[in-house]
Symmetry: C2
């Protein structure tokens, strides 16, 4: 089966009912990276999985990191891989410490 | 790149801003076919495209059929391919003619 690159995958646990979370994340990434992503695949999984992969490489894994990815952080991680020179606007501005 | 089968693709025109429509369709299909679909891929396209494909085979194409797919009709078409014996409840009940 032919896929488009870069291919971003979001694998989510159906038992945990994380489809809406996965769907929201997919749409946020496609809104930000309108032309930079070849496709975003939503993959039903089980056992508490919530993983984000880009061309097979893990960008975020619930099993390793716990909880859910912060969206701004996830966008920066995806940007660094697919559009390294791109300014993400307020997503790049961290709160003053 | 490894994909999961059955793979459903939704290719949508970004210029027409059909991401939300594509995202909604993806989530509706994944809600109905929780375990029957291997993945649903959202594919940004151009030029007024809104196509739904299952394992490479066209299920619905805006270029051929015009407008957008009726969701119940689309679910029946997907069901016929991935879970032919399955009753879709009210989605299978047509309005009296």
């Amino acid at each position: 089966m032919t896929t488009r690159q870069p291919r971003l995958e979001i694998e989510y646990c159906t038992q945990c009912r994380w489809l809406l979370r996965a769907g929201w994340t997919a749409q946020e990434l496609l809104t930000t990276f309108t032309v930079e992503l070849g496709e975003v695949a939503l993959i039903p999984g089980t056992g508490g999985v919530f993983d984000v992969r880009l061309d097979g490489e893990t960008v975020w894994s619930r099993a390793e990191q716990g909880g859910f990815p912060d969206l701004a952080e996830l966008k920066r991680a995806v940007r660094d891989r697919v559009a390294p020179g791109r300014d993400l606007g307020h997503t790049d501005r961290r709160r003053p410490s």
